[in-house]
Amino acid sequence: MKRKYKDYLTAYAFIAPNIVAFLAFILIPVAFSLYMSLHEWKLLVEPDWVGLANWIRLLWFHVEDGRLVANDPRYWRYLGNTAYLLLAVPFTIVVALIFALLLDQPLKGRVVFRTIFILPVVSSTIAVAVVWSWLFNTEFGLINMGLRFIGIRGPAWLGTIEWAKPAVIIMMIWKQAGYNMLLCLAGLQNIPSQLYDSAAIDGAGPWSRFRYITLPMLSPTIFFMVIMGIIAGMQAFNSVFVLTKGGPAESTTTLVYYLYNNGFQWFRMGYASAVAWSLLIIILVFTLIQWRYRTKWVYGETGKP
């Protein structure tokens, strides 16, 4: 064989397993899912071609009593719920950053603290949600007991529409902050100390150093955390499923929960596929917007791919 041809063949042979797996387990199923969204598939019968009917029902509107009404009001409500839960992302980053700054100092026992903060991340979401559902218990939960101790009457966290989403957000922050903290720590340690030294010599105080050195140098890390946080947040399901079962009165039902219900509880696989693809498109749009504007605020990004 010609040497070059053989080299190419070897290279393709090495990446072949990965490509096969990607095709078989990701690309083809996702494409199939899009194809399925054009069908009505009750799982127990053959799929029925319905064209764009699922998509029209999902995204479009009609006129009722002279007013414009969504074809599927629940979809928009759940989209709103999911967007609300995205509030966890900035809070997680802030909390992670604070802890990272604290643990970057040469304190005694900081390795112990780092371990403790990473434990929630590696714990099973289901187990975490079970524990938090007890913490949030209106009468006996530790949170309300603590609030009672300082004289505040805690709300029915998982029992009222107003407080259920904040409760889920609190749990999500607790669960994820450790991982983001690790990322920030790594990012902090990559900041050359000469920058701080020269800034100190020039008379910059701690706040200025933070604002003009730490934050910009950390911006790639923050960018990463924001993108990954939004992608994961839009897919929130595990925590909601155990903590609130989407309730009370569907106030914590997310898009993925709606997808699950449609596909596995109500046997509308075609519609569930449409929900899934709409989620993909939304996340894609979010990510592309962030990518487009990254040069404006992320250090080191020059807009060249």
Binding site: K42, L44, G159, A249, N261
Partner: protein, 424 residues
């Protein structure tokens, strides 16, 4: 090297070795269609080994009695019905299927299960009259018989005797109506540890349709969905009244913990937070382990009439099975055996009610369940049941949370239910 020279031959030999099993393994089955081959029945179930202990003993007995061979195939519930459908479409489904009430309409609509009406009529030993009416009702779909009744799981009224004693109240009896329930609930809602907040509640109000409010709707003479199962009936005045009663219990009289209490992990009745609750008979098992207080059962407090929700299990036969009468024999056998197996569910056979009282003689008033089952009402399972049930439950939650009146919630629930039914 020698290998390089003969590599073609080696490759052919290796491939031949790999393909040999496939060549020789196929085609075995075709030769065995002789009449001498013993009958093999295949049964499918979703219960794991733990739930099938007695069942396997029955199967051994059946094999010894009849000389047939029984193969039980267990598939986890999540894939159970998909697997049934795919094997049915390919014509290779098992002969007998464990069939839950929630899926009977869909599977029946597919046309893959056998109408056993004639088999039952021609059988001298079997009579529908031996079984509770509500169990018989669940064996049919659209007027066609598909299952034989196994056991029944109605909802029943549980109350905490110790709390009643402490409050000096009389225990619930068969004549209790909603006013009695309200009166007792008010007296039993207290702050027992003096910290300023109520921590003992009178009655647990739940948003769940099956064990929460369906019984109340039916007791008031209302329905959730009409007799023909074609349209919602939850917006009838009688139904709205029933829901309003429960909403008032929660928001006006405040005798129930919040809406999340019924959903949380940890049963509020079990942990001694509520004095009275309506729940399924399957709670008899966990409640029998209670040591902190005395408890008992009673008929659910009635209104215009008595009613309770009821659901039961059963098996169905694959339409294209080779062994129709054999499968029916097995079905009858399993059904008969289930009537005497200890379970939280009532045996579907009326005469076995005494057995049930024996199994649960730790519950003083267990006979109340026997009286309650006569007023059993099926859950009106239709295509799309799961979807319209959760839509109705969401509306009822909104009423319980005080966001809508019961009338508004009922109207919106009716709209949602009709929408789901129209889409089936």
């Amino acid at each position: 090297m020698a290998i390089r020279k003969y590599r073609c031959a080696i490759a052919v030999a290796v491939i031949a070795l790999l393909l040999a099993p496939a060549v020789f393994a196929g085609g075995d089955g075709e030769d065995d269609a002789a009449a001498q081959e013993p009958v093999t029945l295949r049964v499918s179930d979703w219960r794991g080994d733990a739930g099938l202990v007695e069942y396997y003993a029955w199967m051994t007995e059946f094999e010894e009695n009849t000389g047939m061979t029984i193969e039980t195939e267990v598939t986890p519930f999540a894939e159970y019905f998909t697997k049934l459908q795919t094997t049915a479409a390919a014509g290779i489904a098992p002969d007998l299927w464990n069939m839950s009430s929630a899926f009977l309409p869909q599977i029946a609509e597919l046309g893959v299960i056998l109408d056993i009406g004639d088999l039952v009529d021609q059988d001298p030993d079997f009579s529908w009259d031996d079984y509770h009416e509500v169990a018989v009702e669940e064996s049919f779909y659209n007027g066609v018989a598909y299952r034989l009744p196994l056991g029944l799981f109605p909802a029943i009224f549980y109350y905490n005797k110790t709390m009643f004693d402490e409050a000096g109240l009389d225990y619930p009896n068969d004549d209790w109506n909603w006013d009695d329930l309200l009166e007792a609930a008010l007296a039993l809602t207290r702050d027992t540890n003096g910290d300023g907040t109520v921590n003992q509640w009178g009655f647990l109000v739940s948003k769940a349709m099956q064990v929460g409010w369906s019984s109340f709707v039916w007791q008031n003479g209302g329905e959730i969905i009409n007799q023909a199962k074609t349209a919602a009936a939850i917006d009838q005045p009688a139904s709205i009244e029933a829901i309003q009663f429960l909403v008032d219990l929660m928001n006006v009289h405040k005798v129930s913990p919040g809406i999340e209490a019924a959903e949380q992990l940890g049963d509020p009745f079990l942990t001694g937070q509520v004095a009275m609750t309506v729940h399924g008979v399957w709670k008899l098992n966990p409640y029998s382990g209670i040591e902190d207080f005395e408890w008992d059962v009673a008929m659910i407090p009635m209104q215009r009439q008595s009613a309770t929700s009821s659901i039961g299990g059963g098996y169905t036969i694959f339409k294209d099975t080779e062994y129709v009468s054999e499968a029916f024999e097995l079905m009858k056998f399993i059904t008969e055996k289930s009537q005497s197996q200890k379970s939280a569910g009532i045996p579907a056979k009326i005469e076995n009610m005494d057995l049930y009282f024996e199994w649960w003689d730790n519950v003083p008033n267990i006979a109340a369940i026997g009286r309650m089952i006569q007023f059993g009402h099926t859950l009106d399972i239709t295509l799309g049941w799961n979807e319209w049930r959760s839509a109705a439950e969401t509306e009822v939650s909104l009423a319980l949370l005080g966001r809508k009146t019961a009338a508004e919630a009922a109207r919106d629930a009716a709209k949602a239910i009709n929408e789901v039914l129209a889409r089936q």
